[in-house]
Symmetry: C2
Subunit: 298 residues, 2 copies
Amino acid sequence: MEEVVVERPDDYEVAEPQNVHLTLEPFRFYSGSIEGNTVLIILNTPIGSLPIHKLWNCTSVHICADGGANRLYYSFLNDAERDRYIPEFIVGDLDSLREEVKQYYQRNGTVILPQYTQYSTDFMKAIEVAILVHSGGKEKLYKPINEDDGISQLVGNYDEGVPFTAYVAGGIGGRFDQTFHSISQLYALASDHSHIRLFFVSESDLVFLVPAGTTYVKYESKKLFNNIEPVPKLGLLPFGNRVVLNTKGLKYDVENWVSQVGGNVSTSNGVAGTTGFIVNTSDNIVINVEISSKAKGT
Amino acid sequence: MEEVVVERPDDYEVAEPQNVHLTLEPFRFYSGSIEGNTVLIILNTPIGSLPIHKLWNCTSVHICADGGANRLYYSFLNDAERDRYIPEFIVGDLDSLREEVKQYYQRNGTVILPQYTQYSTDFMKAIEVAILVHSGGKEKLYKPINEDDGISQLVGNYDEGVPFTAYVAGGIGGRFDQTFHSISQLYALASDHSHIRLFFVSESDLVFLVPAGTTYVKYESKKLFNNIEPVPKLGLLPFGNRVVLNTKGLKYDVENWVSQVGGNVSTSNGVAGTTGFIVNTSDNIVINVEISSKAKGT
C-alpha cells in the first residue's frame, strides 16, 4: 500500500477510535488525578526541573533506586519540606546512597533494602519492589530478606498481581548507555510483564512504549503538558523491529508508513490532536512527547 | 556456543588483533592530532562543557547546522576570541539562526547556505555539505545554489569522493527524538556512505557505530579521554538487529553473547584496555564511551 504523509493544522480534533484499542493517559499526573495503582521510581540522575512533586502527589508508593534517594533529599532546602516526601523504600547495591541521607530516611520510616547482586541494575531492583507491592508480597519487604538477590527470588514466587503504572523520574538523557538500558527495560517489561505500564519523565520528554495494535493517547488539553509550544514535538521511535505505522492527530500524520532505524524515522513530528492522538503500529515502538512548563518544578 | 562473561582487572593490556579488522581512533582529537580529512559539525544543542575548541583545532572544515552557529557565537565572551573560530559554512532552513550571528559570520567570510526543504533535517544538510567538500564539489558551494534542496541535488551528481571523519558536537542527550534521529543517521550513513566515519560528542559520552566484523578501538591512554574514572563506563548498544558479541579489553568481556533491545544488553560496562579494546559483532552496533575531563572545555 502507498505510504502517505498528511500535514495537519496545529490544532486538530480526533475522536476516540471505534475499533479495539488501548487507551493511555500519560499526562494525568499534571492534573493531580490518576486512577488505579501507581508508583514513583526515582533514579540516580539529576532531578533538575522535573515535575517531581506533582509526580509524588499522584502516586501511592515511592521507591528510590540507590542514589535516587540523594537526589530527592537534596532537592529540598530544609527538613520541613523534606518531611512531606518520605519514600516507602530505598533499594539497590547502595554504593551511591549517602550516609546522612540513609540515616534521615531510616529515622523517618523508610525501609532500606540492600540488594548487592550485580546481575541486575538498581532500576530493575526498584521495579521488582514495585511488583512485590502489587502482587501480595508487600509485607515480605518489612521482614529480613537475603541481601544479595532476595527480592528477585521473592518476585518469582508470586503471580502477576494487579496491573500498575510506574512513573520513572530520570533514566533518559544522561549517560547514553543508561538511556539505552531504560529503553531496553521498557521492551523487556512489555514482553514479560505487560500489566505494568512504564512512563519515563526526563527534563525534556515523557517517554513510553506503545504496543503493537491501536493506541489512543488521551489528555484534557495539550497545554496541560506543554504550555510553551503550540505543537509539542513528538517522535515515533522504532527501537526494535521495522514497523508499519498509521497515525491520526499528529502534525504529520502517516499512513502505511514503514519505519526503522537507519531508514525513515518520524522525529521532530508534533502533537496536533487537541485532546488525543491515535497510533497504530505493527510492532512495539517508543514515543516521546516534549513536555515543557513555565512552572515545571511545582 | 556457550555465552561467557569474564571480569577483567581495571587495567588490562590488549594487543592489536591479528585477523582482518578495522581500526578506529575516536579519541585522537584530545591529543590534537588527527590524520586524514576531518570535519566538525556543530548542531543546535547546548555546547556546555563540550571540548569544542579541541575539536575545532584538529578538524579542517567547520560546518554549523542552522542554530548551531548561535551556540558557537555565544560560547565566546568577545570578538577577539570569536574571530579565531569562524566556520566555513552555515547551512539549514535558518529558522533558528539569529540575525546578529548571521551578520557577524557573513562579515567574516562564512558562506551561508539556506536550504529550506523540510524533507531533510539541518543535520542531514550539514552532512551533505561535508560530502560535497570531499567529493570535488566544494567550489559549487561558493556559487548560487537552489535554496530549496540544491545541495542534496548536487550531492547526487558526485561520486563517493575521499573518505572523511566527521565529529558532531551535540545531537545526543537532548530531546529524545533528536537523539534517536542522530543514531538513525549513524546507521543510514554506515549503509549508504560507509567511507564517512561519524563520532558524536555529547557532554557525557563519545558515541559511534561499530560495523559488523572486528574493530580495534585504539588510544594512547584511557586518561586521555577520561581522567576522572579509572574504568570509564561503556555500553554496547544494539539499535538495529539482534547481535552476537565477542569483546576483549572491557571490564566485563563477553564471548558468544547474544544482545538485543528488551533482552541482554551490556550497559554500565567499562573500558579496561590500557591502549585499546576489541569488539567483534555480527551486525552494526553503537558504542558509547564515557568522557570526562577536569579541563573539558579547553
